[in-house]
Subunit: 210 residues, 2 copies
DNA sequence: CGCTTATGGATACTGATACTATCCATCACA
DNA sequence: TGTGATGGATAGTATCAGTATCCATAAGCG
């Protein structure tokens, strides 16, 4: 398969494929002559993955590259790979909340985690985001939402368990790693859109005409 | 309060505040003389909201503007305002999946919605994202995740109900609208980070050294 | 065999986004 | 009275995610 066909199959413009090749997201095709390369099924799969991460999950190109490199390395431990996927989903934060608000929120979040017996590293990127979000909700006067944090955690824990079970069925480590990464990232998009649909439907008959 | 103090209180640089004023995200302060304006509590609150949306929820500036305008208009019906918040969370999609994959995914999603009795407009932005995500997961060989779509929906429905209850306690319509919008958008960030923390903790003891 | 089209590779350009920086004529306040 | 902050306008910057252009070569067709 040459680049034109790869483009047709995946519906990605040729210049964009070239760009991904340049950036090292997509491995080069096998060269049969200085200006003739052939791409195979792995390229199609890889390209689909790249597009899903970029378009659906809005992961920046540089981060996609990092994730793919991590997936391709057989030596990196699984938890490291998961860490990368997590970092892809939590933007490098700039401090938002004031100090008092933050420490209060941090306390609540730490309590929650302790109460659930979750093993979470203090440096986990999602931890900072959660604390900032709680602080922001508080400072915006949305305490009623924050009050139910524990119930949120219940629901979240239930489908996280489900996800991990679903993914654990993968036989090889490589497949497991890929499933975990894809599941982590696209799972987020899945849940987010389900939530919006549920909201639309539940809110529809609740506030018909307000 | 002058702009310098507003900047100190909210920890947003003065040039950035000026930028938000220019863009119409933040209402102008009250002018006491041609180059002297005073900002009040509403400005502090508004600025905090803007920053939370931009930094925490990664909402683009133009979309924040749209949302705020919608919140400020007393005439726009609530479901319209919710729609705007939803659009803020679902990026304008470029078609990703091939046609066959998409119709298959669309069928499954439509079934799911019908089975749950959800009232969802066919034009709902989240619907397209969900379909694309299902199609993408399928094409990436992650059918095991898609298989549990219904269980996901269960969990999602449970906390969506919770959210809506929490938010319904607001007395005035304006407050309700603000809560719904903030809850929709920051709730997403909240759930996402909870999920990552749960994942980290559950996966930790599942795959200690793989 | 010749001619058009596609290709790989390199380099340059573009449009959008979110700020920053600079200016300048006031204005506040010590 | 002079030093610094302010409002408002305009211009500049960095990053990101592609697009566009060129060129020498290769493929496919008549």
């Amino acid at each position: 398969m040459r680049i034109g066909e790869l483009s047709k199959v995946t519906d990605v413009p040729v210049p964009t494929i070239k760009y991904y090749l340049r950036e090292g997201l997509l491995p080069a095709g096998e060269l049969s002559s200085p200006n003739q390369a052939s791409y195979g099924d792995t390229h199609v799969r890889r390209l689909r993955l790249i597009r899903a991460l970029i378009e659906l999950a809005q992961v920046p190109v540089a981060t996609v590259k990092e994730i793919l490199e991590s997936l391709d390395s057989d030596t990196e431990p699984l938890h490291e790979q998961i860490g990368r996927a997590h970092r892809a989903l939590t933007p490098t934060r700039r401090l938002t909340a004031t100090d008092e608000a933050r420490t209060a929120a941090a306390a609540q979040v730490t309590d929650l985690i302790a109460a659930r017996g979750w093993a979470v590293e203090p440096s986990a990127p999602a931890l900072a985001t959660l604390i900032d979000t709680v602080a922001a909700l508080r400072s915006l006067g949305q305490d009623s939402l924050v009050a139910h944090l524990d119930t949120y955690a219940d629901a979240v824990e239930s489908f996280t368990r489900l996800e991990i079970d679903a993914v654990t069925s993968n036989p090889t480590r490589d497949q497991l790693a890929e499933s975990v990464v894809i599941g982590t990232i696209l799972g987020e998009t899945l849940i987010a859109s389900l939530r919006l649909l549920a909201q639309e439907s539940i809110s529809a008959d609740r506030w018909k005409n307000r």
